[in-house]
């Protein structure tokens, strides 16, 4: 396994956890308006994907629990803190918040709340590259949860991507609950992975609590798509270690599930794995923790000091063009 890939992935996991812990505190202190949605417990899956993509070449459409993947892909922390804290200097300028952010021209579209909708969107970004003759070596990827697999948009999108045989990777993090709804009220098939075959996608299962397994399996799925093997689906099993959002205590998650192997913390696992595999040392990881805590602090402080949107100076136009000298 590529040492730098695993180290990149792990560092993104660590940074995302530190950032999200801070966001949670800010929310609880009333400093963030709207929701805060954490990827706690899903960092390994998300970062394994983000770290296997190349910003400037690939496309990554993150979803609600992809802080680690965003960080691994190269989204600066300040984009996150500015969006959560409503800085007008952020990528969404206060017009959208929290995880609904992106930089489409950098290959990272901004998610809408409607699940499954980013699957065909990424497919279309890849189609554009194909039509322009620059698809070679490019991969597009998006993440969804178990709940999104029940949507028509997901089905239509995955099917379309398969029909076009696009170099796309769809990562399904089955975290057992879609908000509060458990798997047995969400789908009736034995394993979501079975759907990959039904759609005509390559299928890969992985233990989402095991970072090295995520690196191996997701890295391989991305390599397959990049190498021309067509679209791939990864289904990761894990447990969401937070509520749906920070407003939700997740009390509907049974205690025995929390105590099961699904409920293991991928970051704690990752620390042990990094040291055991010789990818890092205790000292290095501690140094990263200190460095990233400072980075998080700085990104929060900067965003907090920045101007918020001014409704009197807001450009209240939903279309870019004017017709007859008037906004549409």
């Amino acid at each position: 396994m590529d040492r730098e890939y695993v180290r990149d992935m792990f560092r993104a996991m660590l940074k995302a956890r530190l950032l999200e812990s801070k966001l949670s505190s800010l929310y609880k202190a009333g400093k963030i308006v709207g929701g805060v949605y954490l990827g706690k417990g899903q960092e390994a899956v998300s970062a394994a994907l983000g770290a296997s993509l190349v910003k400037g070449r690939d496309i990554f459409a993150p979803l609600i629990r992809d802080q680690a993947g965003r960080t691994a892909f190269g989204e600066p922390l300040i984009d996150c803190t500015r969006t959560y804290l409503g800085s007008v200097l952020g990528p969404m300028k206060g017009r959208d918040g929290n995880i609904h952010r992106g930089r489409p021209l950098d290959g990272m579209p901004a998610m809408i709340s409607h699940l499954g909708a980013q699957v065909p969107l990424v497919g279309g970004m890849l189609m554009a590259r194909r039509l322009k003759g620059c698809l070679d070596g490019v991969v597009g990827a998006t993440c969804v949860g178990d709940g999104a697999t029940s949507t028509g948009a997901f089905h239509e999108g995955v099917n379309m991507v398969a029909v076009e045989r696009l170099p796309m990777v769809v990562v399904v993090s089955n975290n057992q609950f879609a908000y509060s709804t458990p798997n047995d009220r969400q789908f009736a098939c034995e394993d979501l992975l079975d759907r990959a075959k039904g759609y005509g996608l390559g299928g890969h299962a992985v233990d989402g609590t095991d970072p090295l397994a995520c690196a191996r399996v997701i890295g391989r799925a991305v390599a397959l798509a990049r190498g021309g093997a067509g679209p791939q689906m990864v289904v990761a099993r894990l447990l969401r270690l937070s509520g749906h959002g920070e407003h939700d205590d997740g009390s509907y998650v049974p205690g025995d599930l929390r105590g099961s192997s699904l409920g293991r913390d991928c970051l704690e696992n990752g620390i042990v794995q990094m040291i055991d595999a010789g990818f890092s040392t205790v000292e290095e990881i501690e140094a990263w923790q200190l460095e990233y805590a400072d980075e998080v602090q700085a990104a929060v402080a900067q965003a907090q000091q920045e101007p918020t949107p001014d409704p009197w100076h807001e450009d209240w136009r939903a279309c870019s063009v004017e017709l007859g000298g008037k906004a549409i």
């Binding site: 990424v122 970004m125 554009a128 039509l131 999108g157």
Partner: protein
């Protein structure tokens, strides 16, 4: 030789494909088959790889096109029928329409909606969806009523950086002909005085422009009435300058549309005229729309469901006699 409305749509797409490498077409049965209405006939052969058949997945079709537009392409998506765009509603109003405001990146997407009723097409192949889409910020909605507009407004729609919902009327496809594709150079956002008059204004769009003209001719023959017909051309934006100027000349307004009567374009026109030009009105403004049921299948029911020259004349006589 003459050019039909659907010929003009095909011609426009051929021109666009020929002149702009960013343009591609995506839709059901549009490739070798040439589309359910033959609006893309021969284009797949002429432009290999740029006229693509989609699966029956309206949501994914628009999602795909938005993604391609973000990447700099100019996709034209053909919905086989406007009615089926309800399946793509989410991608149109939440993904495409919000994108510029949210991210600053415009989405130059054109969605062609074969709209409106034809005899026998029934509840699910006859709908007029323009008001639904016009409701959402971030979308431009056009409703060409002439052969020349069918051509030029499609060219203009694709040239726009924002998503355009292009509502083409199926009833006009082959019935409406012109000797050639002329144009008067009106841009999207400008209405046209189709027929000048001084006694009442009918504001219409799409196929209803022609029904309004027929009604106007009858009333001229019947009593010498001079009815002005305004073709909105685009329902978003609404050219209120032209509408208000017309109402100022006539003092009377009938807003005419084929869509369902609750809300919609005619309600918007009447509301705006009342708010912005109440003093211009000599009579209460009227609206005439389809009946408030799904569009019926049987030609006899269908013909009585939508406004007809007869029902338009009745509405106008009441308006004129106030």
């Amino acid at each position: 030789m003459s050019v039909t409305y659907v010929d003009a749509i095909r011609e426009a797409q051929e021109t666009l494909l020929r002149e702009d490498p960013r343009v591609f077409l995506y839709g059901q049965d549009i490739s070798k088959f040439g589309g359910a209405f033959k609006a893309t006939k021969g284009l797949a052969e002429a432009f290999p790889g740029r006229v693509l058949d989609s699966p029956i997945s309206e949501d994914a079709m628009i999602g795909m096109a938005v993604g391609a537009a973000i990447e700099g392409m100019r996709p034209i998506v053909e919905m086989q029928f406007a009615d089926f765009s309800s399946v793509a509603f989410n991608q149109i109003v939440n993904q495409a329409a919000t994108h510029y405001y949210r991210t600053g990146v415009p989405v130059p997407l054109t969605v062609r909606l074969p709209s409106g009723g034809t005899p026998g097409s029934g509840p699910f192949h006859s709908q007029s969806m323009e008001a639904i889409y016009a409701h959402y910020p971030g979308l431009v909605v056009v409703t060409p009523a002439t052969v020349a507009d069918a051509y030029h407004m499609l060219i203009d729609a694709v040239a726009m950086d924002d998503p355009v919902v292009y509502c083409e009327h199926k009833f006009l496809y082959r019935w409406l002909k012109a000797p050639r594709i002329n144009g008067d150079g009106l841009p999207i956002g400008k209405a046209r005085i189709t027929r000048p008059g001084k006694h009442a204004t009918v504001v219409a769009y799409s196929a209803m422009v022609h029904e309004a003209v027929r009604a106007a001719e009858r009333l001229r023959d019947e009593g010498g009435w001079e009815i002005e017909v305004v073709d909105l051309r685009s329902v978003k934006p609404l050219d209120m300058d032209t509408v208000l100027a017309s109402v100022s000349r006539t003092g009377r307004l009938l807003a005419l549309g084929e869509a369902f009567p609750w809300g919609g374009v005619t309600a918007e026109v009447v509301a705006r005229v009342c708010a912005e030009g109440f003093h211009l009105l000599d009579a209460p403004p009227r609206r005439l729309n389809s009946r408030d049921t799904p569009v019926p299948y049987h030609p006899k029911l269908w013909a009585a469901h939508r406004p007809t020259p007869e029902s338009i004349c009745i509405a106008l006589r009441e308006l004129l006699s106030f």
